[in-house]
């Protein structure tokens, strides 16, 4: 084991505290040629595959609409469905815990693990536990939390942060992964095989061997869930690798931390999402493993099951009539893969575990917009609309971005900008003044530089020339030639 007494690799520091605002973080990413190449290759590959997988279905539009309606109906009556879920989970032998925020969820999970007397857990890939920083919390409490999803393992061993919802190590290439495995695996368990190469098969085999001893030893599994069915209390995890199935079935105790928006009313509703989720995320017709469990079952699977229902800002988002549509999200990542801004800025620039377009509308609602990075997220989009087009639950991300910009613009820091916008709007509302300004710009055009100082203009002219001003504005041409 490592010399620093830790049981898992240290993370890159407290979760995203002190992150620079998006434009600044993105500037670094844009200048990183390797990162740009990794992201471009990966996002374009998945993007094209998704388009083909979706095009196979002639009822895609209807599925998308159905998914949207099911989620909207559930969110409208979320209190009812959550209580129904609690009742069903309890009746099936599980225990339901309610966590208002990350701290409460972490405390509940820690106490549950400690009550088993165990000091290590195996984890299914889970965004909710990333969101609350569970691994670091458990480590601090002397409990080792091992990620078992291949990409999450790469991120954990690399002392790194996930940069994509579906493909957390999307920013890494094969060579980098091989180096991480060679250097880190031995400190936290079975070392990488001698002479490990960077072929996908060898890397996957190294991960399998490293993880197998953890699966077989673990007495506690921790997961999230893609869906929770209220009518039966059934939880659903969809995955590709089978590590989830191992964690959900081998340990004696299973603890699932799930956001409250993941509930759906009935099994029938799964019919829609089990079609739209795999095609939107991994571009598969059906994902390889779909695990479903309902409480506990005698002589099969975990003896003890705990469900921790996580709010952590979700009810705040739910109260926002425009913003609440973000809670429809099924975490497929199609919006990330198609986003031109994500492709160039990378996931880390977003300063949370939810990067890309969905993160830009989710995080400012879950965390608020007090920090520099959170306040900059609604602007991290050109509003090109590609995200909305691919979203399988029809979240109008550009609409929410503009809505959140309105909220941020109302904060104190935006006073100078508001004044400038007000002034420009005043000019535009006075055509005489506007025309005078246009004429002045035209008459002095010989004096205009193609690069210019001033905050907005300077940023514009860093990479672009200013246009040559015309001899006269259109309205003057019209007056002379058509009236």
């Amino acid at each position: 084991m490592s010399g620093d007494e830790r049981t898992t690799p240290p993370g890159p520091g407290p979760a995203f505290v002190g992150m620079p605002a998006f434009p600044e973080a993105a500037r670094k990413a844009v200048g990183d040629a390797t990162l740009r190449a990794n992201l471009r290759h990966a996002t374009h590959t998945i993007r094209d595959k998704r388009a083909r997988a979706v095009a196979e279905l002639d009822d895609w539009a209807a599925l998308r609409e159905a998914g949207k309606r099911i989620k909207d109906e559930t969110l409208r009556h979320l209190d009812t469905y959550l209580l129904r879920l609690e009742e069903a989970v309890t009746a099936a032998g599980g225990t339901v815990h309610w966590a208002a925020d990350a701290a409460e969820a972490n405390r509940i999970v820690t106490e549950l693990v400690k009550a088993t007397g165990e000091s290590e857990v195996v984890k299914v890939k889970s965004m909710a536990t990333q969101e609350i920083g569970l691994n670091e919390h458990l480590e601090a409490e002397g409990i080792a939390a091992y990620e078992t999803d291949l990409a999450e393992l790469i991120v954990q061993l690399g002392r790194d942060r996930p940069s994509h919802i579906l493909v957390p190590a999307i920013h890494r290439n094969r060579g980098e992964i091989r180096d991480i495995f060679r250097e880190e695996m031995g400190s936290w368990g079975r070392p990488a095989p001698e002479g490990l190469a960077d072929s996908p098969a060898e890397l996957a085999e190294a991960a399998r061997l490293h993880l197998r001893e953890k699966f077989l030893r673990a007495k506690v599994g921790i997961s999230g869930a893609n869906f929770m069915v209220a009518e039966t209390g059934t939880l659903v995890v969809v995955e590709s690798e089978g590590n989830g199935r191992m964690c959900l079935t081998l340990p004696e105790t299973l603890i699932s931390v799930v956001g409250i928006e993941k509930v759906v009313p009935t099994w029938r509703d799964l019919e829609v999402f089990l079609q739209t989720l795999p095609r939107s995320s991994t571009a598969e017709r059906m994902n390889p493993y779909t695990s479903m469990w309902t409480g506990t079952t005698d002589d099969d699977g975990p003896r003890s099951f705990h469900l921790v229902l996580l709010d952590n800002g979700r009810t705040t988002a739910l109260a926002d009539e425009v913003g609440r549509q973000a809670l429809r999200c099924i975490r497929c990542s199609a919006c990330l893969n198609v986003c031109p801004v994500y492709e160039r800025a990378g996931g880390h620039a977003y300063g949370s575990v939810y990067p890309g377009p969905i993160g830009a509308i989710l995080i400012p609602q879950l965390r608020g917009t007090a920090s520099g990075v959170d306040a900059s997220l609604p602007y991290a989009s050109s509003l090109c609309g590609a995200c909305y087009e691919v979203c399988p639950v029809a979240i109008d991300i550009p609409e929410v971005l503009v809505h959140l910009r309105g909220k941020v613009a109302g904060q104190g820091g935006h006073r100078p900008e508001r004044a400038a916008v007000k002034a420009s709007a005043w000019v535009l509302d006075h055509p005489g003044v506007l025309a005078a300004g246009e004429r002045l710009a035209s008459r002095t055009r010989a004096l205009h530089p193609r690069r210019a100082p001033g905050p907005g203009i300077r940023r514009w002219t860093e990479s672009r020339d200013l246009p040559e001003m015309p001899a006269e504005p259109f309205r003057d041409w019209w007056r002379k030639n058509r009236t």
Binding site: S382, G385, A425, P431, S463, W478
Partner: protein, 241 residues
């Protein structure tokens, strides 16, 4: 037929030639064009940057300026999309805002859907590639209209733009708030355009062309950005520029 031209603020101040070309094109097709002088800006820059309240007087001004016109033609997909998709939300502050939406046509919509023409009698003997700006592409669903118009232009060789549907990186205030990502997107778009060997990068939104043209100019690239209206206005007798 009589229509009102909504030239847009960017075209009025920076690209008047696009307005002139639109007038020339429409008149050649037998359309009577008016230019209501009270028009300025549709309010999109304010609205999309989060200053909805500041957009209200501009929405009101735009709605009033085009009262009484059955058809308002806009040589900008982005401004047309602002009116069509967002004016309805100003109903409480600006009576009649929703009523303007169906009367507004982006230029290629007006030509293809209202006038029913794809061959506008233009001649432009150049190699051209077309960038479909996002708002025209996704919000208005312009589809094949611009391409059909370009394909009917005499002498014009239309070459496919790789990655055409990707945003160019302009995005209004995005270009200034996120200059590095914007420039990276623009550089990729320009790289794709240059790879086609085209002489002209055509678009139907001058705001995108302001950004791309500015980058082309900075690089001294052998490619110029030109609005679709100016290509369609060009004839054998009166070639454009």
């Amino acid at each position: 037929m009589r229509v009102a031209l909504f030239v847009t603020c960017v075209n009025d101040a920076v690209f008047p030639s696009t307005g002139v070309a639109t007038v020339r094109l429409l008149e050649r097709l037998g359309v009577e064009v008016d230019f209501p002088a009270a028009q300025t800006c549709c309010g999109q820059p304010q609205f999309n940057t989060g200053y909805r309240e500041e957009a209200v007087p501009l929405v009101r001004r735009t709605v009033r300026a085009f009262e009484g016109y059955d058809h308002v033609v806009v040589p900008s997909g982005s401004c047309a999309a602002m009116v069509r998709h967002h004016y309805g939300s100003f109903g409480a502050e600006v009576p009649g805002a929703a009523g303007l939406a169906p009367r507004v046509h982006e230029l290629t919509e007006f030509l293809v859907d209202v006038l029913g023409v794809t061959d506008v009698g233009a001649c432009f003997p150049h190699r051209v590639t077309y960038h479909p700006s996002c708002h025209g592409l996704r919000l208005l669903g312009l589809g094949e209209r611009p391409r059909r118009l370009l394909e009917s232009v005499k002498g014009l060789e239309l070459v496919e733009l790789p990655g055409a549907e990707e945003c160019c990186g302009f995005g209004g205030t995005f270009a200034v708030k996120n200059p590095d990502v914007s420039a990276a997107m623009g550089a990729d778009k320009i790289g794709n355009a240059l790879a086609t060997g085209a002489e002209v990068l055509c678009g139907a939104d001058n705001s995108c062309l302001l950004h791309l043209g500015g980058m082309l100019s900075r690089q001294g690239a052998p490619l110029r950005a030109l609005h679709l209206a100016e290509i369609l206005a060009s004839t054998e007798e009166e070639p454009w520029r």
